[in-house]
Structures are given as structure tokens and as C-alpha cells.
């Protein structure tokens, strides 16, 4: 490092500039370009939720690994888990993602906790595991209201962003603070009222920048079943599925660029 330059200036100085690149020119882009083959091949998607039922027809063959977070007091550890889902919610999310990106790989991280402290801690620990175990996209259809975990989740969100991992979060269903869905580095998603999975909207007024299909969605559920469900929980995995297609077609795209492509290919609101 040159002693005459602050560290942050180094990438922009002298020979180091050879590592820089410009964004691709802003030619008009469409979904055919954005999605490529559209199968999500190569994208590794972590689902932080209630578990994923590995043999459910909606996710069959895509689930690579299942873990769960166990909380004991102030400690949380990640242990191997059976490919099961005690609720159905995580399987619903994984099913939506695989439905849109059938060759994507899914990692399941089960984070249900039974007390207020355990919940937030399990969630943060699960997110950290996803970041450290090769996920390229993390779907979080749940979030934490824990103020005591604000800094931890903020740090993890930044780590993910700098590690080229895209975090997709369901916004809370009412306007209360919850994390990391309100952090700037994530893709925050709420449901729109159009019953069409191919419709998503971009909202230039943050924090919730994307609206996707979340009303009366036919989703996979526990024990091989299916159910009709409504909520932001089911909108987020639609954006995750589209993001998996984009990351597969454009492996060098950063989270910032994936977000830009999602915004550029959003449904025309007019």
C-alpha cells in the first residue's frame, strides 16, 4: 500500500486501476436477456425459515443440505438437520424459488425459536451460516424486531453484500421496524394485489423497493401437500427465484447490479 494514500483510495490509484471495470452500457434490457436460459443453474439459494421438506415434489432434487440452529441461553450452534419442515412455510418458499429456477440448488436453514431472545439469535446465526457456506442468494421470509440484534444483523448484511451475496427479505406486513428487511443493502419485498407470478413492480421510494406475487399463491406445504397462502412471505421467494435466474445468466453481476436488473425488468405499472 502506498503510504501517501489512504487505504480506500488504493483501488482507484495507479496500477490498481487495472482491476476496475465499468458497468455494462445501459442498453435497453429485457427479461430474455436478464434471465438467459432461465433455469437458475449454478445459483445456490439459502432458505432461512422453518426447514424444507426434501422429498416434496415441488423441491425434489434441489435440496443440497439441511441444518438447524439450536439456541441454549446466549449460545447458538448450527447442527445438521433432517430434510423436514415442521410447518410447511419453508417448503412453500423453496417451492416457489425452484418453480422459477428449477436447476438452482437449495440450502435449508431452520431457525424457529420458542422465546424472544432465542428467535432473534437463531435467525442471526442462521444468516451467518448461509453467508459462510456458499449461498449466492439468501431468502428471508421472516425478520427480527430485536433491537439488541440490530448491530449484529447490520454487520451480517454488510458482510453478505461485500461477499457478493444477495439478501432478499420479506417486508413486515405492517410498518414496524424489522431487520434486516429495512437495511439498504438488501432487496426488500412486499406483496402486490395482482394474481400473476410474472408480475413484479419496482418502487423507487425505499425501504420496500419491490412488490411481487403474494396474494392467494398456490404453494407447497408440509407432508407433500399444497395450500393457498397470502402474505409478503410468499412475495419474497418470487423475487429470489428471479434473482436466481439473473445470477445464473450473469454470474459476474453483483448484488447491486442484480437489484438494478430487477428494477429495469420490472412490470410497467402503466
Amino acid at each position: 500500500m502506498s503510504p501517501s494514500l489512504p487505504a480506500w483510495s488504493e483501488p482507484f490509484s495507479g496500477d490498481h486501476r487495472a482491476a476496475l471495470r465499468r458497468l455494462a452500457p445501459f442498453d435497453p434490457i429485457d427479461r430474455a436477456w436478464a434471465f438467459g436460459s432461465g433455469d437458475g443453474e449454478g445459483a445456490v439459494v439459502a432458505v432461512v425459515d422453518s426447514g424444507v421438506e426434501g422429498d416434496h415434489p415441488a423441491v425434489a432434487g434441489c435440496l443440497r443440505e439441511s441444518v438447524r440452529v439450536e439456541v441454549d441461553g446466549d449460545d447458538a450452534i448450527v447442527v445438521p438437520d433432517e430434510p423436514i419442515d415442521a410447518v410447511g412455510h419453508g417448503t412453500a418458499c423453496a417451492g416457489i424459488i425452484v418453480g422459477l429456477a428449477p436447476r438452482a440448488t437449495v440450502l435449508s436453514i431452520r431457525v424457529l425459536g420458542s422465546d424472544n431472545r432465542g428467535k432473534g439469535l437463531a435467525f442471526a446465526t442462521g444468516l451467518q451460516w448461509a453467508i459462510e457456506h456458499g449461498a449466492s442468494i439468501v431468502n428471508m421470509s421472516l425478520s427480527s424486531r430485536s433491537e439488541s440484534l440490530y448491530a449484529t444483523l447490520h454487520e451480517l448484511t454488510d458482510r453478505a453484500y461485500f461477499a457478493n451475496i444477495l439478501l432478499v427479505c420479506a417486508a413486515n406486513n405492517v410498518a414496524v421496524a424489522s431487520y434486516p428487511s429495512l437495511f439498504a443493502a438488501v432487496v426488500s419485498v412486499a406483496a402486490h394485489d395482482v394474481r400473476d407470478p410474472d408480475v413484479w413492480f419496482y418502487n423507487p421510494r425505499p425501504p420496500v423497493e419491490f412488490g411481487a406475487y403474494g396474494l392467494d399463491v398456490d404453494v407447497a406445504w408440509k407432508a407433500g401437500g399444497r395450500i393457498t397462502a397470502t402474505g409478503n412471505s410468499f412475495a419474497a421467494p418470487h423475487i429470489t427465484g428471479y434473482a436466481a435466474r439473473i445470477r445464473a445468466a450473469h454470474p459476474s453481476a453483483t448484488p447491486f447490479e442484480v437489484k438494478t436488473i430487477l428494477a429495469a425488468t420490472a412490470t410497467d405499472p402503466g
Binding site: V87, H89, S114, K222
Partner: protein
């Protein structure tokens, strides 16, 4: 606030009298609050039924405390694991859930019947949450005149549940404040100037309430009114009150030592 230790216990005693008097005039609001929440839920959504489950940390289970609507009563008293099923998911994640066409999946329909009392066509489950955490889950089952719940219903249920949580939390604080003061008095009772014993506290309170002067201008009532304000306090403030009372009791103990007992 009086400084002399030998005036502190009578002060607390008087505060307790005021609270006990209020409690006896208006019985604990807890049950009535829960019932009014489910009744209001049924009216608000035009629902067939509504039920409310509270978390019991002792057993790590969600216990259905009240229900409204003729189809909803079967669930009252049921206890389920805090991470099981729809209610468990909502409780353990804080994320609301709306499902419709529940009976289409036979296994899920049966499970839902076991956890709600009957098989609804559709349901919304929302967390009873405020800034201090999640107390339980509120469920709304079946609109009478529509096929299912929409996004607006989910938002409305979530907002309503937040208001309900404030009401439940307030009624708990009212109850906890009274029992807290009562516990302090019982603990300090063997020191009270006239030597009353803890076991006779109920009778003493009853007798003194009979003799109370409602319009008394004793400065102790001002303190009692301060305590009444605690009914609107949050648990964090209650912690401070608890700490302050601990200090008072310590001072009383020192006073006892000085008196050479």
C-alpha cells in the same frame, strides 16, 4: 417521598390499600380484555370465529385462552408446542400468515381442525406483538360472506393485534404491580410498627378499606396516585420501580437494625 425508614413501610401499606381497594371494586381486567379482543375480532372481520393463544414460558407451549363465535369454542384450553403448526410458526417467527382453501389438503385440514377447533375455509394468524416481544397469537377464521382474506385483511389483523397486545400488556402490569407491592409488604410485615403478621394481611386490608376516607388528603394518597400511573407503564419502567422498592426495603432493614431488634 418520605425519608425516614419507619415511615416507609406504612407508606407502602397505604399504597397497597389503595390498589387493593381498586382491585376489589374492579376485578382483574385480564380475562375481560382477552374476551373483548376476540369478540372485537369477530365483529371487525365478520368472521365465523376467532381465538387467542398466549405463550406459557413454564411449559414452552401456546395455550388457547379464549375464543369467540359458535365454531371456535372447541379450541379453548388447547395447548400446542410453541413452534408447531400455523400458530407456532407465527409465534416463533413473528410473521403473520394467511391461508385459504385449507380443507383442500386433507392432512393439513385435519391438523388445523385439531389446532383451531374446526376446519375453516380460510384463516389469518397474526402475532400478538409489541416492542417488548411476542405474547401469543390471534387467529381469525373464515369471513362469513367472502371466499378468503386479502392483503388488506392481513394488515388490518396485524395492526389490530398490536393494539390488543398493548391492552393485554397493560392489564398484566396492573396485576403485577399490585402483587409486587403485596409481596414487598408481606416480606416487610414483621417489622411494621404495630407488629402485624403477614398471614393476616388480607383481613387487615379488608378492615382498613372499610375505614378508608376516600377524600382523605393524606399525602400518602399522592404516592398512591403515582402508583396508579404505573398501570400505564411498560415492563422496563416496572423494573425501575422494582429496583427502587428494593432500595426502600434495604433502608427499612437498616432502620430495623438501628432500632436494635
Amino acid at each position: 417521598m418520605t425519608d425516614e425508614p419507619d415511615q416507609l413501610i406504612p407508606t407502602l401499606h397505604a399504597v397497597s390499600l389503595r390498589i387493593e381497594a381498586a382491585r376489589r371494586l374492579a376485578p382483574p381486567a385480564g380475562g375481560a380484555v382477552l374476551r373483548s379482543i376476540v369478540d372485537a375480532t369477530v365483529a371487525l372481520f365478520g368472521a365465523e370465529a376467532a381465538s387467542l393463544a398466549l405463550y406459557d414460558p413454564g411449559t414452552d407451549r401456546l395455550v388457547f385462552e379464549v375464543a369467540a363465535g359458535e365454531h371456535g369454542q372447541g379450541v379453548v384450553g388447547l395447548a400446542i408446542g410453541s413452534t408447531e403448526g400455523v400458530a407456532g410458526y407465527v409465534f416463533s417467527t413473528g410473521q403473520p400468515l394467511a391461508l385459504s382453501d385449507v380443507a383442500r389438503d386433507a392432512r393439513f385440514g385435519r391438523e388445523t381442525a385439531e389446532q383451531t377447533g374446526y376446519v375453516p375455509r380460510s384463516l389469518i394468524a397474526v402475532p400478538l406483538v409489541d416492542d417488548h416481544g411476542i405474547l401469543g397469537v390471534l387467529e381469525v377464521l373464515d369471513k362469513r360472506d367472502e371466499a378468503g382474506f386479502d392483503l388488506r385483511d392481513v394488515e388490518l389483523a396485524t395492526v389490530f393485534a398490536r393494539q390488543a397486545t398493548v391492552a393485554i400488556r397493560s392489564s398484566r402490569i396492573e396485576r403485577d404491580t399490585a402483587s409486587l407491592l403485596r409481596a414487598v409488604l408481606v416480606a416487610a410485615d414483621d417489622w411494621t410498627p404495630d407488629g402485624r403478621s403477614g398471614g393476616g394481611l388480607d383481613a387487615i386490608i379488608a378492615a382498613e378499606i372499610d375505614a378508608l376516607d376516600a377524600d382523605g388528603d393524606d399525602p400518602l394518597w399522592a404516592l398512591a396516585d403515582e402508583i396508579a400511573l404505573l398501570r400505564a407503564a411498560d415492563p422496563g419502567q416496572l423494573e425501575i420501580v422494582r429496583d427502587l422498592l428494593a432500595v426502600l426495603v434495604q433502608r427499612a432493614d437498616r432502620g430495623r437494625g438501628a432500632r436494635g431488634r
